[in-house]
């Protein structure tokens, strides 16, 4: 079930081969949806679902797909899954779907997806492809959650909508930093995480 290769497919993207931190993919959405935790988590789960299932479907189809139109086939599969996710969210998580607005639709353009389909699912059987999708989706989600954690905490003083910074801090002159809510601080937060990550992983550093 979990051979060494499969384990690598599942766990490498979490840190050593993280799609956001190392491959710098999917930056746009990680800046846009991380102003608070809830949309970040929902976005993460959506990407995991779309990525895992599109990987599996493409992996099943990989021997039949004509080379010339393989990108189109991949796009159709991804687009269909994204629309399904969007429809389900509008039906069962309306408020979150309103917050995420266009970004769910833009999962289609998330480079992580096309990257994994081209690089992995087209050459591997369904089970490793599924694990690879879950792994990369998780790697993306972890970063989203970390960025959103700091932005919501410092920007609004809340986590998942609950006030966590005690009132006496405000009474003593503490103020929420409105800049954290804006996209530039997401980029800076992400930069700090990449910095920290590289400092800890010597083998990622260029000579």
């Amino acid at each position: 079930m979990l051979s060494k290769k499969n384990k690598e497919a599942l766990f490498n993207p979490l840190s050593k081969d993280n799609p956001v931190l190392v491959q710098i993919l999917g930056i746009c959405s990680s800046l846009a949806v991380t102003a608070s935790l809830e949309p970040a988590i929902v976005m993460g789960i959506s990407v995991i679902a779309v990525l895992a299932f599109s990987n599996v479907i493409i992996s099943f189809l990989r021997k039949t797909v004509p080379t010339n139109i393989r990108i189109i086939v991949q796009l159709v599969v991804v687009a269909a899954l994204v629309i399904i996710v969007q429809q389900i969210l509008t039906a069962y998580q309306y408020d979150v779907s309103k917050k995420l607005s266009v970004f769910i639709g833009l999962i289609i353009t998330n480079c992580i997806l096309m990257g994994r389909l081209e690089a992995f699912a087209m050459h591997n059987s369904p089970w490793p492809s599924f694990l690879d999708g879950i792994g990369n989706g998780l790697g993306y989600t972890i970063i989203l959650v970390i960025v959103a954690f700091f932005r919501e905490l410092l920007g609004s003083g809340t986590l998942l909508g609950f006030h966590v910074i005690p009132q006496w801090c405000y009474d003593h002159g503490y103020m929420d930093n409105g800049l954290m809510i804006l996209p530039p601080m997401a980029l800076i937060t992400l930069g700090c995480i990449i910095w920290f990550h590289r400092a800890r992983n010597k083998d990622l550093q260029e000579q």
């Binding site: 039949t64 797909v65 004509p66 080379t67 010339n68 139109i69 189109i72 086939v73 159709v76 599969v77 269909a80 629309i83 399904i84 429809q87 389900i88 509008t90 039906a91 069962y92 309306y94 408020d95 309103k98 607005s101 266009v102 809510i181 804006l182």
Partner: protein
């Protein structure tokens, strides 16, 4: 079979698209009722918010709405009630409605009774912001003049700038403003600090960095509320004495109104 032959590629693409299309159509049909309910509940929430009422939870929105909104009315431009079937005002499609000439528009009114027994009238407004439509609900006291509360929503205004029309501080500025000045309908103007409304309307501060959205709110209020003039006047207990004069006559000195309250 040759995977790169044209026939194979075309057939492959056609079959795939057909399959995907069918699946999506089924999912759309299956989830549509649930989605429509969500959208309706969202609208109810906005209307309740104009009345300063927060529903306890998503499940209670409909219940709360039906508790407070006691009657749906459609009025005409002379202020007469033309229809009062249930949900008749709620179901009006404002998007289509505002495109019609004023005389042909349906004028929905939601009559509400609050916990303290006071009667409020909620009037929907719909207009254009910078990037897309903006809309809102204005709750008016039973004096037909004073704004009790306002709620604005937008489809895609700039976060941090135009999107702030959907935030409480901006909406609260409308509270206690008057739609009529000295008996004439003036709406409420949204203007930059230091500007004065040419028609003498009461005004509130525009949002910094969101000139077009602020103007959109101002225009939307004027455009959508003006047809209610006769209706509001009836509420005031004064029959429309003279036709509303359109020229900006009698610009009275507006007192220091652009201080935020």
């Amino acid at each position: 079979m040759n995977k790169n032959s044209n026939i194979y590629q075309i057939l492959y693409a056609a079959v795939m698209v057909l399959l995907v299309g069918t699946v999506l159509a089924f999912i759309y049909m299956a989830l549509k009722p649930k989605q429509n309910e969500n959208i309706a509940n969202d609208t109810r929430k906005q209307i309740l918010s104009a009345l300063h009422i927060a529903a306890a939870g998503d499940a209670q929105v409909k219940e709360t709405y039906e508790k407070y909104v006691i009657q749906d009315l459609l009025v005409d431009k002379d202020g007469n009630v033309v229809d009062s079937a249930s949900n008749v005002a709620f179901d009006v499609q404002m998007k289509k409605n505002v495109k019609l000439p004023v005389a042909e528009r349906q004028l929905p009114v939601m009559k509400c009774r609050l916990d303290d027994g006071s009667i409020k009238y909620v009037l929907p407004v719909y207009g254009a912001g910078l990037w897309g439509p903006i809309w809102g609900y204005i709750a008016v006291n039973d004096d037909g003049n004073t704004i009790y509360g306002a709620n604005f929503s937008h489809e895609g205004e700039t976060p941090g700038l135009g999107a702030r029309i959907a935030e409480q501080p901006f909406q609260d500025e409308f509270v206690d403003k008057h739609l009529f000045v000295e008996g004439a309908f003036k709406s409420v103007a949204v203007l930059k600090k230091g500007q004065k409304a040419t028609n003498g309307a009461e005004q509130i501060d525009a949002l910094t960095g969101a000139t077009i959205t602020s103007r959109g709110v101002s225009d939307m209020m004027a455009d959508c509320l003006a047809p209610y003039e006769a209706f509001l006047k009836k509420l005031q207990g004064t029959a429309p004495a003279v036709e509303p004069s359109l020229e900006p006559a009698a610009i009275e000195q507006v007192t220091d109104d652009n201080q935020p309250e």
